[in-house]
Symmetry: C2
Subunit: 578 residues, 2 copies
């Protein structure tokens, strides 16, 4: 990863590619790379769909190596959904392949003078950009199928569906998994709309002829990786819960904790929760000849994904994640896994964030567009997004816009991004993260659920205010660093509980780059990333007043704990005082 490619889409004779050295961005990867480039180069008041915005694609620091779990790809830009800086990362194959080709970042710049659709082919022979309008308005599954006819099965694909082409604010970028399904999405913040605005339909990444990235100290790296994998395998979350049931193991846990937001955040318990649970899901998957255990990229040892088939054994979608099952399930009063799977497929195919999409549907239900629990209605609404009807465009613009257009007061968003599947009133720690993260409401930015509910990395009472700010601060710092390594965030469960596994991660980084890497270095990296992001957001007009939850979380207590969000403004404003 010794070079950066800049692709300028603005030039009249067609896009131009410039190869540069890393320069000031040397040593960065993943989120650190995307966020520091955006903060450095993008005008904070740029229109997110305009020529001044950039879309940065960056593998993590350890992507493309033989290390386990190193397959996360970061995509960064100014978000059309939130107006903040945005880093959205996904699994799939793209990060490994791009890293092996030596690219520390691909920077998509400018805006094409025509409305042609482009595809970008990246291989050892360089970068080739061609116009291909035959892909127009193909959704992700058919788009990848068509591209495979031309480029085959030994490459990684990044595509946008019709939502990205239509520049919908919740549009995602799909990355193919090892079986070349477009199921791993940079979902949040509308990164797909930015790709669409730049006239790019697909990126094909071919690492034929390239090798694993070599560590500076191969033996030490191999050893550290072995210890790291051992640590993941022995932790109950990464070694047992996630492989067996995937992220959806959380449905029962959150429902029992009274923190499962039900019917647009009106209750913390969903009576239909058990029908949506990971346990029920895994049983169904196995029974129907799907898979309850599957990795989204080669090198994954957690294998939290799966394959969801219909009753006849035909593929519907990859195993829907917990947040997706929630957003389309309990949030909408829908207790049917087959409906959720169908919606997950539609989201992946059209190319929209499953969280903002599902939350938007629940908000529309609250407005009376369709009733809560209307399974067929929910499917019809997402199909409207794929058709680009006015109603579909509203919903595909996410929960905040849907709330505004339908005159809804109870709109669960922060910085216009939909809240995920954890109510911040019975779980105060995650509320601190939602309110203060640089990304808009995002559970992954500082997953306080770990310590509030799962008792990983300690035990902070979710109902109390004590310790939540410190918890969220530390998690946000650690997450910003992990998101820069290319490591899947789920390694956090093991490294928070097992010092030797954290040390193994440090050793992997150290031995790969031939440096010494300490816990302090990780903290410094995380703070550096967050500081760059905060600085961008400040220049874009974000203030402490934006680091708040919507008012109804402060004024409406939720069952069963009958509690409002209680972290004071002063406490929230201290999250980044380090």
């Amino acid at each position: 990863m010794d070079k950066i490619a800049r692709i300028d889409m603005s030039t009249a004779g067609g896009p131009t590619v410039t190869m540069t050295e890393l320069g000031e961005y040397a040593g960065l990867g993943g989120r650190a790379m995307t966020s520091i480039i955006i903060a450095t180069e993008v005008h904070p008041l740029a229109h997110p769909l305009g020529a001044e915005n950039k879309l940065v694609i960056a593998p993590g620091m350890l992507s493309g190596t033989a290390g386990a779990m190193t397959g996360r790809l970061s995509v960064g830009c100014k978000s059309p959904l939130t107006g903040t800086i945005k880093e959205s990362n996904a699994g799939g194959q793209a990060a490994q392949v791009l890293a092996r080709l030596g690219y520390a970042a691909i920077i998509l710049e400018g805006k094409p003078p025509t409305d042609d659709l482009h595809k970008i082919h990246i291989s050892k022979d360089g970068i080739k950009i061609t116009v291909d309008n035959t892909l127009r308005l193909l959704d992700n599954y058919p788009a990848v199928a068509k591209l495979r006819e031309e480029y085959g099965d030994k490459v990684a694909y990044m595509t946008i569906g019709s939502a990205g082409e239509r520049k919908l604010l919740a549009a995602s970028i799909a990355c193919t998994d090892p079986e070349l399904r477009p199921t791993r999405h940079c979902g949040r913040g509308g990164v797909g709309a930015v790709m669409g605005a730049k006239g790019i339909k697909a990126i094909i990444i071919d690492d034929a002829g390239m090798k694993m990235r070599p560590p500076k100290d191969p033996e030490r790296y191999r050893d550290a990786n072995r210890k790291f994998v051992e640590g993941l395998r022995k932790h109950p979350v990464t070694g047992e819960g996630l492989p067996a049931y995937g992220t959806n193991i959380l449905t029962n846990i959150l429902n029992e904790a009274g923190g499962y937001p039900t019917r647009n955040f009106k209750s913390g318990v969903y009576e239909g929760g058990s029908k949506l649970s990971g346990e029920a899901q895994a049983e169904l998957e196995i029974k129907r000849g799907g898979k309850a255990t599957h990795g989204c990229h080669r090198g994954c040892v957690i294998q939290c994904s799966g394959i969801y088939n219909d009753a006849d054994g035909n593929y519907i979608t990859k195993q829907p994640e917990y947040e997706t099952v929630w957003s389309h399930g309990g949030h909408c009063g829908i207790d049917d896994l087959d409906t959720v799977a169908r919606l997950d497929y539609l989201d992946d195919n059209i190319g929209v964030d499953t969280i903002d999409m599902g939350v938007a549907i629940g908000v529309a239900m609250d407005a009376g567009v369709i009733p809560f629990g209307d399974k067929e209605g929910a499917i019809r609404l997402v199909e409207e997004v794929g058709k680009g009807t006015p109603l579909g465009r509203i919903l595909g613009s996410g929960a905040a816009i849907t709330g505004k257009v339908f005159g809804v007061e109870r709109v669960p968003v922060v910085k216009d991004q939909a809240l995920p599947a954890y109510d911040p009133r019975p779980i105060q720690g995650i509320g601190v993260t939602y309110a203060t993260t640089t990304q808009g409401a995002d559970h992954t930015a500082g997953y306080a659920i770990a310590t509030n509910i799962l008792k990983v990395g300690g035990d902070v009472d979710p109902l109390k205010t004590e310790g939540q700010v410190e918890l969220s601060r530390n998690l946000q710092i650690a997450t910003a660093a992990i998101d820069s390594t290319g490591m899947c965030l789920f390694i956090a469960f093991a490294i928070m509980d097992q010092p030797e596994t954290f040390q193994a991660l440090l050793d992997m980084l150290g031995s790969f780059y031939g440096i010494t890497m300490t816990g302090d270095d990780v903290v410094a990296l995380g703070k550096k990333v967050l500081s760059a992001e905060r600085d961008f957001n400040k220049r874009a007009g974000f203030t402490a007043a934006h680091d708040r939850l919507p008012r109804f979380f402060y004024t409406e207590a939720i069952e069963p704990h009958n509690q409002v969000f209680q972290i004071t403004d002063e406490e929230l404003d201290s999250v980044f005082n380090w």
Copy 2:
């Protein structure tokens, strides 16, 4: 005006009315009253459609007196469109009638527990609130017609159309004119949505048995008023241009100046401008048996309004204002006054701001929803707003939402409120006002056109940066004060050019209240209002980064002057340094 009525819509047994003395709000009127109440009492992060927001209705300091031009009514709230504090004022009869009943303000609070529609009857016998669901989804003309059957013709009506009931972000509040037509709108910022969210369909104000408010010094007041009227009559704008041609006299002037935003701000000259001009409009109105000269409230001596009939002599609408003719005309590439009149009627009837509505249509045209120049298409789009279809809801949410939902980059808004009919690139002074006013883009907040183009109050070259900040600052201060008096803003032309007319205004205020009133007092009042508004906005999260025009005004030069907006950020940030 010695009392304030607070109407709490939240109470379970039906709304409750509390009468209070003026207390800390004594001496305030109009915008000073609404803005200081909102800034004092409303949580800056309140959801605009929630119980925490308030809708304040306040006549001006001189409303209800025998003084000329004192019929403006201010309505204030936290705006659902902009998120800022909002004052939107209108003519019509309501201010005079409410003032004569002694109300300095009506404050609508809370949110009803049911979705019943209420009407509020205000008379010398007090305030009576009744449920009336027979009014549901009636637009303003039929709603007023129905109310007249019950309350007759000697009252003033304030109503919302279907847009307000649907809580659309561009919904207005209609005030009836002397002929009881619902043509005078508090248009900007979605104040109608706030009234709708509070479950209030209509306010009926009956001043039977009440008298003109008596001045402390009747003789001096009468004398000052006489001089004031003389001044208005002798100034060329208020004595000749506005009476003869209305505000639409500006079409030819702005088009000739190259400052007429055409087809969504792509040019400063519209080839069809002369067909839309005030001169053509007045000729047509007279020929068809309408009126080119008409006052929107009793006591008006400028008479800038009119009556627009169809070719058969049947009433279509009141004379469309310049901004309306522009937003539905040149902005959309439509050069037909009959189409504009039909759209003006639809806007008034449905109850939406004609500026945000027209700009939204132009933005939708830029997105390809319908072509520029599509007259029937434009009418159909506004009819969709009245039907509450998804497309209608998008458009009725204003230009900012329309741009987001349709993925448009060129969206002429500041703080999510649509720019009015003056391009800020060839007229830099108005750009300073658009960017920095507390209200979101608003020409009336500091009408630099006066001095940049009309050469009223001096002569500041519109193409240069020199003097624009000072001009906008002084105008914003003066406007905030005038908006507090109940005076129509159009008096500004005469008082800016004629010191004796300004002195007459000071004498009216002084003699009415039995105080001495100097120019410095007016400036102090204006600064007090702006400071309260700025303070609210700051607490609501607005910063210098929001006091900017959209980026395309800085990057795309516009014909014929080939100039971008050139006022620096530092200059913009100095507007409120006084």
